[in-house]
Every structure is written in C-alpha cells, then in structure tokens.
C-alpha cells in the first residue's frame, strides 16, 4: 500500500475553488516498437519478434491553481513495460502533489513525485521531451523502475551565482515498489540536486540516500538452509551468505553527474552514475554512463550515443561462497548443501552484468506536437554476461546484439 498521503491529497481539492480558466488538461503518448537480432534475449519487452509494448505509453496531466501561490498537479500514466508483467498498461499515479510558491526563489511541493535521479528521470515517460527513442539505458536502467516515484516533500531554490544560475532541490520521503519477485522499500529517502547553469551549458550533481529493505518470500528457504549450515558447521561464513538474501535498512547511496553543452547546431549531453552499497545484506554496486552528440538541422536531429554499464550483486557473498570451497571442498557438505551452494553461486553471478553500447539514430519533428524517432543500438556484452539483456533459461549467450526501435511521440 502506497502512502495514504496521496489519497488525502486527492480529497483535498476543494471543488468550489475550481475556476475553469485556471485548470488545464494536457497529455502525451508514445507508440513505439522494436526487435533484437538474437533469439532468447530480451530487453524490456523487446525480443527477437517485433514488440510494441516496451516504450509505448500514454499519460494525462492535470494542473490548476487552488489559491494564490498554491497549485495542484496530477499525472496518470499507463505504460507497456512494467517490472511486473501483470501491470502492463495499468493506469498509475506518477505525480500527485500540491505546490506552494513561498517567494520568487523558493517553492515547496508535497505529495507523490518522480524521483529526480537523472536529467530526464522526471519525464522518462514523455518521449517528446528528449531526443532519443528512450533515454540512454546505460544510465536510465529499468532496474530503477521500483524507485521511479517517491511520496514526500521537496524544496526548490533558484538563484543567481555571479553570471550563472544555481538550482538547488532537496527532497525527502519514502519509496515502495516491486521488481520481479522482489519486494523493495526505501524509507526514509533523502536527496539533493545541484544544477549550475550558464547561457549554453549546465552541470548537475545529484545524491540520493536510501535506507533500503529488499526481500523475496521465495528466498526464505535458502536463507534458513544457510543458517542451518552455519549451525551444523559452526562457521559464521554461512550466516553472512544467508544475510545476502535480503536487505534490512541498508544504506544505498546514488551519485549522479550530468553535463550539457550547446553550441550552434550541436548539443553534447553526458551523464554518469555510481550506486554504492557495501552493507552486510543484499548488496548492489553499479556504475554507468553515456555521452551523446546531437546535431540539429531543420526538423532533423541525428544523434550518436556511447555508453557503458556495470552492475554486480552481492559481491562479498560471491567471494564468501568462493572462499567456502577452500574450507569445504566440493562434495564435502552433502548433496543438498552442495546443490544449494553451487546454485546460489550461479544465481548471484548471473546478476552480474557488464556492457558497452553504441546508438545511432535520429529524431524528426513531423508536426509541432509530434516527433518520430528511429534508432539502432549495438550492445557489446562484456565479462561473460549479457549486459542489460536478459537471457532465457538455457539460451545461447551471444557476445553482442542489436536492438532496432522506433517511436512516434505526441504531446497534446
């Protein structure tokens, strides 16, 4: 259950204050399709057959003034890709907040908001707002979907710093989501973004710190088995491995850097992130980055993007498992424990992913509210992984893959 605050917010709209002029509906939609050139590999909902459910999305946005300085915003979005297959195209509340403008420089918002991880995180569903078919996946990874929204408050300050402008955003709240079989909760969440802006450039640094709980009901039996193994052998190493199956109030830190520079018809965009967690429980270390060069000519915006991505889960537990083979060589723990040990090692290793990718594509602004995009992304898989693509069980694991995709984005 999400924070009840958002339901209270919905009820807080005093109907008698609705003046038609001050309220506006708007919306956006994307129809997108794509396919990969490899059997048994999937990326979002893309696989070797044409799929239209990965980047297709529709959203409605309502905004209005309630009182002087106080406004209301709601956005409902239904999207084709969802971390849980059952929720495809289910309408969800992405934004629902009250905004209060304290002074020309200072604003506060309270309610449900998009988590401002990266430059385009807040409009990731509005294809029209960015040049690519989708924001570069080496940074905007789909693993972040459970963390797309947070319920809480934020404060934004905008001021001048000599000839430059500085935006400071601080926020706090809670996140709650699911990814595949995992229950994920982050509470409290706190963060800040600093954006320094010149006439033709901007620099941004973002920091988010979560206290994270991750668990899966299906994993409890493995945890129990490792705890029994610890009792049986008297070796606490197996307790450490048991701990790696869940996170309890683990501090996760997300660092993000972005730079944008515009010169004549050229735009250069680059972002990078670093997720750091080295606690005792379910641990995740990840880095990623991209650089994109865009050229604007008439209605065309061709672009080229290079990116890389690295993610490893439970690095310490993998080391513990490997070490356990020194103390207890294979075959010495009994058949069931051996199966558990080798299965866990395979499972943890399978979450490791490393890749580079190159993307070549173009945006074409067809009408004032419609853009068409076409791109091909070449994935170069590293370290015997399949990068951000997920292999079907027993599928061949190729060294590379190509994803071709297109999108038609409208705003209204």
């Amino acid at each position: 259950m999400r924070n009840p605050l958002i339901y209270l917010l919905l009820m807080a709209i005093p109907c008698q204050t609705l003046a038609f002029d001050d309220w506006a509906w708007s919306g956006f939609a994307s129809v997108a399709g794509g396919k990969t050139n490899r059997d048994g590999l999937s990326f979002k909902n893309y696989d070797e057959n044409w799929s239209f459910d990965a980047d297709s999305v529709v959203g409605l946005h309502l905004q209005g003034d309630l009182l002087p300085h106080l406004s209301f915003t709601a956005q409902i979005v239904a999207q084709g890709y969802h971390a849980n297959d059952t929720d495809q195209y289910q309408p969800e509340v992405d934004w629902l907040f009250l905004s209060y403008q304290w002074s020309p420089a200072l604003r506060m918002r309270a309610g449900r908001m998009r988590t401002p991880h990266y430059l385009y995180s807040e409009t990731i569903n509005t294809g029209y707002s960015y040049p690519w078919v989708r924001p570069p996946t080496n940074v905007y990874t789909f693993f972040l979907t459970p963390f797309y929204n947070f319920d809480g408050i934020d404060l934004t300050w905008n001021g001048d710093l000599g000839p430059f402008e500085l935006d400071i955003q601080v926020f706090a709240g809670a996140m709650d989501g699911e990814y595949a079989e995992l229950d994920i909760k982050a509470e409290p969440v706190g963060g800040a973004n600093l954006t320094l802006r010149g006439q033709q450039w901007l620099l941004r640094y973002g920091l988010i710190i979560n206290s994270t709980d991750i668990s899966s009901p299906g994993w409890h039996i493995y945890q129990d088995a490792y705890r029994q193994l610890a009792l049986f052998t008297g070796d606490t190493l197996f307790n450490d491995i048991a701990d790696a199956f869940e996170a309890n109030d683990e501090p996760y830190a997300y660092h993000a850097l972005a730079a944008q520079w515009e010169h004549r018809n050229w735009t250069l965009l680059a972002e990078g992130y670093y997720i750091d967690n080295r606690g005792d429980g379910f641990a995740n270390t990840s880095t990623g980055g991209y650089a994109s060069v865009l050229y604007h000519t008439g209605n065309w915006t061709p672009y080229i993007t290079f990116g890389s991505y690295y993610n490893v889960l439970n690095e310490d537990a993998i080391q513990d498992l490997e070490d356990s083979y020194t103390t207890y060589p294979a075959g010495t723990l009994g058949p069931q424990a051996e199966l558990l040990r080798s299965g866990t090692l395979d499972a943890f290793r399978s979450f490791k992913s490393k890749q580079r990718s190159w993307t070549l594509g173009t945006r074409y602004d067809l009408f004032t509210n419609t853009a068409i995009k076409l791109e091909a992304e070449y994935f170069d898989f590293l370290a015997d992984t399949t990068g951000l693509m997920i292999p079907a069980p027993d599928a061949r694991r190729p060294k590379d893959a190509v994803l071709v995709s297109f999108a038609i984005d409208v705003v209204f």
């Binding site: 708007s26 946005h61 956005q75 020309p104 908001m113 569903n125 707002s129 040049p131």
Partner: protein, 143 residues
C-alpha cells in the same frame, strides 16, 4: 548635395531595417509593482524558472504569441537562444516534469495586449510599435 542624398539614403535604409525588425516590448498590467525588468529576469520568467515577479508577491502568468509567428521565433532566439522546436521540447519537459504552468497562448498581438491589460499577473511580448495604451512596458528589447 551628395551628402544630403547619402544621409537620405542612410535614413531610408535605417527606417527599412527598423521596419523589418521592430523592437520587442515586454508588457505587463499597469498595476504591476515593477517599474522595469532585466533581460535575464524576462528569460527566467518565460522559461519558468522565476514563477513570481522579482521582489514581489505577484505570481507570473506568461503569454505567448502563436508558435508559428515571427515574433515568437525572434523572442526566444533573443532571450534564450532557442529555436521554436527547442522551445516546444523544453515546454514538454517543463510541464510533464511537474515544474509548473506553461504560457497561455494569445491569438495575436492585440489579444496579448488585451489580456495583459486585464490580467494583473500577466506578462507578454509584442512589437514595440504597437498601440500599448492600457499596459505597462517593463523592458524594450532593442533589435
């Protein structure tokens, strides 16, 4: 005589140029507490980074001319070095990331002047040679 001819020719050329690219007037309601605005503040207001008039308690309501008009192109090229296509992308980014309202779109310059004359928190831009009775000029962007 030649000098006079030259002067006449120069004056004519200047007039032609002035006609081709008239100055832009940034206009607000007569009761707007500000006497003037800087170009930087105009940029911040029209890009939505300043949602209240500086040093005031008055929220801004920006008014755009039609986005296929010549003045619209010139205004955003001047204050933000943005093409109309870039402004549209920026507006989508701004609106759908919950940052605030986008400008109302006036039907034409006269409509913009009329709206600014009646809405206390409105701010717009029009050709400086227009009849500006009933509105306050906060800044002239000279071409």
């Amino acid at each position: 005589m030649r000098i006079l001819q030259l002067l006449a020719a120069l004056t004519f050329t200047c007039l032609m140029l002035a006609n081709a690219r008239a100055d832009l007037a940034i206009i607000a309601h007569p009761d707007n507490p500000l006497a003037s605005l800087s170009e930087k503040d105009v940029q911040k207001i029209f890009l939505g980074r300043l949602r209240m008039f500086p040093d005031s308690d008055l929220e801004t309501q920006t008014l755009d001319l039609p986005d296929n008009s010549e003045l619209y192109s010139r205004f955003y090229a001047r204050i933000a070095q943005m093409t109309p296509a870039k402004v549209r992308r920026y507006r989508a980014f701004y609106l759908f990331s919950g940052k605030g309202k986008v400008p109302y779109q006036a039907q034409n310059q006269q409509d913009a002047i009329n709206k600014v004359a009646t809405e206390k928190n409105a701010i717009g831009y029009v050709d400086a040679t227009s009849d500006l009775t009933g509105v306050k000029v906060l800044l002239i962007l000279q071409e």
